[in-house]
């Protein structure tokens, strides 16, 4: 197990390094790096000084090393627009995005697993078919359009929920969260539901498929033949076995939820880092774009690592396979 953990951590470090290289080449080497790093309003003298300061006259690999060292020190440049360190800007917005993502994931899991189980146990019943039809709908509905429709119905027509913003926040261990006040929850409901929709469908389908496959397996038949009560067969034998892919997907999808928050945040004017990214792309605030990318890459690598280790803890086969190598 320890060997496995060490090897996975090493792998993650390599991926992080490779991705930082790609981001570097992508943003710094394609196009003129001066445009990217120097305020476009700077005069000729400033530009020449900047080229020297930034070491742009040196070979690419040397520049990359410098970039890496500065990145490791947490220095990813200043935002052109806000004139504060880009990293700080993003970290300030992060709690809002994470709150949204966690809320969406909770909705997905709490509703998705029971619905998927039901659809898997009764695939030919009307309710089972309705759940599946709903999940196809959830997959097909373009997220941003659903967001607009939610606003149209609940904000414009019914006037129940606010159309944009985050509302008042409360400080919890120094982090601003909005789910402690009713007003905050009201602001959270629509964006979270919007973001949860695709994941909800995914979890439903995954749970249903897993349940259907598990039900015809020998261990389930054996458990039934043994006279194990049906509730235990479903709750223990089936659920435990289908949890492996589901946990993987929940883990991996968390990152995609954070990324997809870009869309939801734009629609609902949620002050998270996704909205910041879109705003930065629109005004070409490149240090912020780079900082966002590196941060999200790090987040993904971390998520993959945690999922793999969780997998290892859940499924003895992974551990055993590794021990044999």
């Amino acid at each position: 197990m320890l060997v496995y953990v060490i090897r996975r951590v090493m792998q993650s470090a390599v991926v992080l390094l490779v991705m930082s290289g790609l981001v570097f080449v992508g943003v710094f080497a394609i196009g003129n790096p001066v445009d990217i790093l120097v305020n476009p309003n700077a005069d000729q003298q400033d530009i020449e000084r900047a080229i020297k300061d930034l070491g742009l006259d040196r070979p690419l690999w040397e520049q990359y090393l410098v970039f890496l060292r500065q990145a490791a020190l947490g220095d990813l440049g200043n935002s052109f627009v806000f004139n504060v360190p880009a990293l700080q800007l993003i970290l300030e917005r992060m709690p809002a995005t994470l709150e949204l993502a966690v809320a969406a994931m909770l909705i997905g899991v709490v509703l998705g697993i029971p619905l998927g189980l039901w659809a898997g146990l009764k695939p030919d019943s009307i309710s089972g078919k309705a759940i599946m039809a709903g999940s196809i709908l959830g997959f097909s509905l373009p997220t941003f359009w659903v967001g607009l429709m939610l606003i149209m119905v609940f904000s414009v027509h019914l006037g129940w929920l606010p159309a944009s913003g985050r509302g008042p926040t409360t400080s919890l261990f120094g982090v601003q969260v909005s789910f402690f006040s009713w007003e905050g929850v009201k602001h959270l409901i629509m964006p979270a539901t919007n973001l949860a929709l695709i994941k909800l469908s995914l979890i439903i389908r995954l749970t249903r498929a897993g349940t259907r496959e598990a039900l015809v397996q020998d261990y389930v038949r054996f458990a039934r033949a043994k006279g194990v009560p049906e509730r235990r067969v479903i709750g223990v034998h089936v659920l435990k076995n289908i949890m492996i892919p589901i946990v993987t997907v929940i883990g991996l999808e968390f990152g995609s939820v954070v990324a997809f928050a870009v869309v939801t945040e734009t629609i609902f004017a949620w002050p998270g880092m996704g909205k910041l990214l879109i705003d930065s792309i629109n005004v070409l605030d490149r240090p912020v774009i780079v900082a966002y990318l590196l941060l999200i890459v790090a987040l993904f690598v971390l998520i993959n690592l945690v999922v793999d280790l969780g997998y290892c803890a859940l499924d003895p086969r992974v551990r055993l396979a590794d021990a044999r190598v």
């Binding site: 373009p142 607009l148 606003i151 990152g255 995609s256 990324a259 997809f260 870009v262 879109i278 993904f300």
Partner: protein, 307 residues
């Protein structure tokens, strides 16, 4: 539908001969939902194909637009009384029905072009990986793995931030995002097929490698690819719409469905729902019909699910 397959081969001679295609068609037709999807898809494709004939007005021809007709609700008559706007008009007085039909063309065109590009690239790389093995295999699959661990929208966003706007650029971004799905699928199928006897026989005949790959290996890898490609067309269309909605996709001159929806966003809050609502409905119908067809295709073509 199951009787045909349970019947022994000899019995098949009495009825119409069972070819693989006929079996697939019969299995496909077993789901009414899938047939509805197929019919919907056919209607949408025809509507997009014949958009210039069907639409009451050419939405790109500014001379045909009348700003006086701007933001009219569905069913209104134009100011000069010459035509009726069944789905209302946008802020420039453009007939939404026409805009949607033309937008559908662009959305479908971009989706299909990107899918074909990604399919070609993924197919080539996947087959190369499976057939050459070794370092090429490791390299291609590692890159695919890493790429697939990041969500498509993020990669597309970054690429478009670097490349800028335009139809060609969004197709490039979509291809870059999607090739890995195909490469992985093809490689998986090709690895299984490669160890089969007919490939061994072809290799034994000393046929050139290119011929074995293209004539023998490729056709047998197609079924899973078809499934992935159908679903990915829908994904490509949805992704393009999302990117256009975020203002990073297509230029504003020839709006796709996503851009139409985005244009209507500002008017939504004042209750003018139709500018966003109807393009969204068209987008939904397109994606949904493709998904329904793809879903059923996957069940039909997946040997593991054949009971």
């Amino acid at each position: 539908m199951t009787q045909e397959r349970i019947a022994p081969p000899a019995a098949a001679a009495t009825g119409p001969e069972e070819t693989p295609l006929r079996r697939i068609a019969a299995d496909f037709a077993a789901s009414r939902l899938a047939l509805v999807g197929l019919a919907m898809l056919a209607a949408i494709l025809l509507a997009a194909l014949f958009a210039p004939l069907l639409s009451p007005q050419n939405p790109y021809d500014l001379a045909q637009l009348d700003v006086m007709d701007g933001r009219l609700p569905p069913g209104s008559r134009s100011a000069d009384g010459s035509m009726r706007y069944w789905l209302g008009t946008d802020d420039q007085g453009r007939d939404m029905l026409s805009a949607i039909l033309y937008g559908l063309r662009i959305s479908l065109g971009v989706g299909v072009a990107a899918t074909l590009g990604a399919l070609a690239l993924g197919l080539a790389l996947g087959l190369a990986a499976a057939f050459a093995g070794g370092r090429i295999d490791t390299l291609v699959m590692r890159v695919a793995d890493i790429q697939l661990s990041f969500p498509a929208i993020l990669i597309a966003l970054v690429l478009l931030a670097l490349l800028g706007r335009g139809i060609d650029k969004i197709i490039v971004a979509l291809v870059a995002v999607q090739w890995a799905y195909y490469a992985r699928t093809v490689r998986g199928a090709a690895m299984v097929e490669r160890s089969k006897e007919y490939i061994e026989a072809a290799t034994g005949l000393a046929l050139p490698a290119a011929r074995i790959v293209i004539r023998h290996l490729l056709p047998n890898c197609l079924p899973p690819l078809i499934v992935v490609a159908t679903v990915q067309v829908a994904a490509a269309i949805a992704l393009e719409a999302t990117l256009s909605f975020l203002g990073l996709g297509l230029p504003i001159t020839e709006p796709s469905l996503g851009l139409l929806i985005s244009n209507g966003f500002t008017y939504l809050l004042s209750g003018r729902y139709w500018i966003s609502f109807f393009p969204g409905l068209a987008l939904l119908a397109t994606i949904m019909s493709i998904n329904l067809v793809g879903d059923q295709l996957r069940d039909v073509l997946n040997p593991r699910l054949q009971r």
